[in-house]
Structure formats: structure tokens, C-alpha cells
Symmetry: C2
Subunit: 216 residues, 2 copies
DNA sequence: TAGATTGTTAATCGATTAACAATC
DNA sequence: TAGATTGTTAATCGATTAACAATC
């Protein structure tokens, strides 16, 4: 499936819809849901819900709404979550380990979270060869070989800012497709590689703007 | 300082500019920077840089640009980062501990990261009374008292999704102003409390969209 | 002064919302 | 059939970019 140039604003709402549908499929016994209801649960207007979905096909029935299980399956397909995607994580420090645990928990609990963390990387000889939560830690030197062998598609970067670009380069070179970056720097990458910034400190600094200096 | 209704799109670029200016102040010996150069370094168009800054005042000189140290100081004031803001974190699991370490590192390394983590919370009696990286762990029952006593303004939520809303309610009740939420649920909060979602699994699912099924 | 760059207004672009014919 | 709700087009809203007079 290939659609031409759908806005990122649309794409970031799809996992939100998917989460609502997963929950409904689990906990509700209703068969269908209207754009109105889905919008309320996702925090989005009903017209926007319909417009977002309409980019990918006609999934609803007039007068009825969307069949929950069907729409969930379609969204999984659209998001490439209908088959497993292999994920790596680099930087087995406390953040890396915590993210590994977090990831495994999401994988276990959320049916639509079809991203499987199967390889960790570090440069510390004391860590290489270990397993963390059952996942092996490889030498950073083996990135190229492992990306190829394990068909790794996405890498989570949890190394210090000073190492992040170099590490990213190694994975880009090896043919990774997506990067989730926790280091507080802007990574340079070709247009073919999608980079998502998870920059905690920027978010906190932004939050500070909304804190009135003198409360009360 | 009070400006009326400046768009969130503007606010989220300010910490980015501030980061560039901090780096320039440290590593460069030039006095000033043009909107052109600042834009390149922040990944933003020059006209947008000027428009963003112009919301808050006239900080530049025609024909010259912006004086780096001055603009940095002004941005710190605008973002309320010119004086310390007290931050709490709840959920002293592996993610909470990792975020604590991450936070302390940012605080030590980044001059403009004036958000000080001074209190941790958990409900596990085995953790209450401990310190993590020198920061005390309090009982969740003491939220109200500690928020008041320590003037806590922001809380980082790193508890399981099932507990997140309840925990958020306790902090909201106690008068917290901002929440950074790592739990994979949409928190309900009054308009007076600013909530930022740090939802790792949504970001990864979004990234999956951009991964072509068959590579090569 | 001449060249450069700001702050700001007008033009453009893109995203959201409103409205409604089609139809289940 | 009558009521409800989709998919889609048109209207609105908001954000970014272009252009340029003011001025350092």
C-alpha cells in the first residue's frame, strides 16, 4: 500500500485512534462506533476523524459508523503493524535498560504494538555479550552485520549526546529506516530515514513557559 | 511578564533557539547572530525566527542581528528559566530512576536547564525514605504537604498506565502547574494545568508508518 | 554612506471545521 | 421509510513564507 504524501499531522493521530479501538474491542461489546464517539475518546473533532480515515479508504457505513474490529485491522495495516517490525536499542545505560523494560511491557500488553525489540548495542566490553531482559547486547562494531541479519528497521538511541550522531551514522549506513532519538541534539539524517525526537529536556523547558512565576 | 495567547507552535521553538544560543555563547567568540544563521542551526526558516522573537519584543539590531548573550538571557526570562523551578517525579521504578539520572545530568550540563528535581514519590514502603542520586523518596500520601512545602511546580509521571490518572489527580489537587506524562494514556486535567505527553509507544507506532514493508 | 538585517505587513500555504448530499 | 452518519466539498482558521520599508 502506497499513498502519496499524507501529512504527518494525520499520521500522528492514527495510533491514537488505534489505541481507542483496541480498548473498545477488548472492553466493549458494541460492534461499531461513530466518528463522533471515536473523536471524543481520541480528543479530536468528528469531521477530522472522518477526514483522516478517508485518506486511506472508505471504512464506514452511512447511518451506522465504523465496525470496530474491521477499522482496527485496517489501521494496523496502514501503520505497518500487521506484521512484526524488528527494533534495536543502543546505549545500555540506565535509560536504555529502562526503555527496554518499558518496551517489553508495551509489547506484552498492547496487541497492536507489533514492534519487537530484539537487539541491544553498547561499546562497553563489560556489557557486550550480556542479556538484558532476555535480549542480547551486541558490540557497536557489529551494527552492520546485525542490522542485515536481524532485519532491524528501527533503532532507539539512548546514548550520550556526544555519541549520538556517530551512532546514528553507523545505523544509517547499515540501512536502518527509522530512529527514535532520546539524546538532546538534532540528528542529521538523509530524507530516506525518518527521525523522531524524544527530547525530554525540550519538553520540560516548554512546560516551564506555562508556569506562572508567582502562584497565588 | 504576560503575553496574550501565543501559539504553542511558537513556544516549542523557543527552547530550540535557546539551546543554539547557549552553545554559541560557550563555543563561539562571535557577539551576534542573524535570524538566517540562527534559523539554520535550529532547523527553522529565517522569517519564522524573526516572527517568533517579535512576539516578545524587539531584540535585534537592523544590519547586525541578535546579540547572543542578550537574546539568550531574554529567552530564559520568557521561558521562566531565569530562576529555579522545582520538579517532582513519581514512580521510582527503572524508568523513574533512569529519568532521575537523565534529569540530573541535564541540570549539570545545561546552564539554561533550570528545572531542579528535588522530590521523588512512590507508594512502595521499601522505597519510601530511600534516596536516589541524593534525592529523597516520599510517600505518595504526602504529595499535598510536599508540593506546598517544596513549592513543587511540575511533576514527571512515570507510573504504570493504570495508576497514572489517580496519581495525576493527587498532584492536581495539591496545586501542581505542569505534568510530563510517560504513561500511555491521555490524562484528564483542568485547563489550568498544562499536560505534555511523552508517549513513547505512540511515537514508535507512528515511526512504523514510514517503514516500507519490503525493503530493496 | 553602502550593505546588511531587522520587524512587520501582505501573500501563501496547509490544516481544521462546517455543511450537506448520498446512502445505509 | 425515517433517522443517523458517512465521505467530500467549500469555508474558515491558523501558521509559515515572502517582501520590503525602516534603520543600524
Amino acid at each position: 500500500m502506497r499513498w502519496n504524501k499524507i501529512s504527518d499531522a494525520v499520521i500522528r493521530r492514527l495510533p491514537l485512534y488505534l489505541r481507542v479501538l483496541d480498548e473498545l474491542a477488548r472492553e466493549s461489546d458494541t460492534e461499531s462506533i461513530s466518528s463522533q464517539e471515536l473523536g471524543v475518546k481520541a480528543g479530536v473533532g468528528p469531521a477530522l476523524v472522518r477526514k483522516d480515515l478517508a485518506w486511506f479508504g472508505e471504512f464506514g457505513k452511512q447511518g451506522v459508523g465504523y465496525e470496530i474490529g474491521f477499522l482496527r485491522d485496517e489501521l494496523r495495516k496502514i501503520l505497518n503493524l500487521d506484521s512484526k517490525i524488528s527494533v534495536a536499542l543502543v546505549g545500555v545505560g540506565s535509560l536504555g535498560v529502562a526503555l527496554t523494560r518499558y518496551h517489553l511491557k508495551r509489547y506484552a500488553e498492547d496487541e497492536s504494538f507489533n514492534l519487537e525489540l530484539i537487539a541491544l548495542f553498547d561499546s562497553d566490553p563489560a556489557k557486550i555479550g550480556m542479556t538484558v531482559q532476555g535480549i542480547p547486547v551486541f558490540d557497536l562494531k557489529d551494527v552492520a552485520a546485525q542490522v542485515k541479519e536481524k532485519q532491524l528497521k528501527i533503532v532507539i538511541i539512548a546514548v550520550p549526546a556526544s555519541d549520538a550522531q556517530e551512532v546514528a551514522n553507523a545505523f544509517i549506513q547499515a540501512g536502518i529506516q527509522g530512529i527514535l532519538n532520546f539524546a538532546p541534539i538534532k540528528l542529521q539524517a538523509p530524507d530516506t530515514v525518518h527521525v523522531v525526537a524524544a527530547d525530554l529536556s525540550l519538553e520540560l523547558q516548554r512546560l516551564a513557559y506555562y508556569i506562572p512565576k508567582y502562584t497565588g
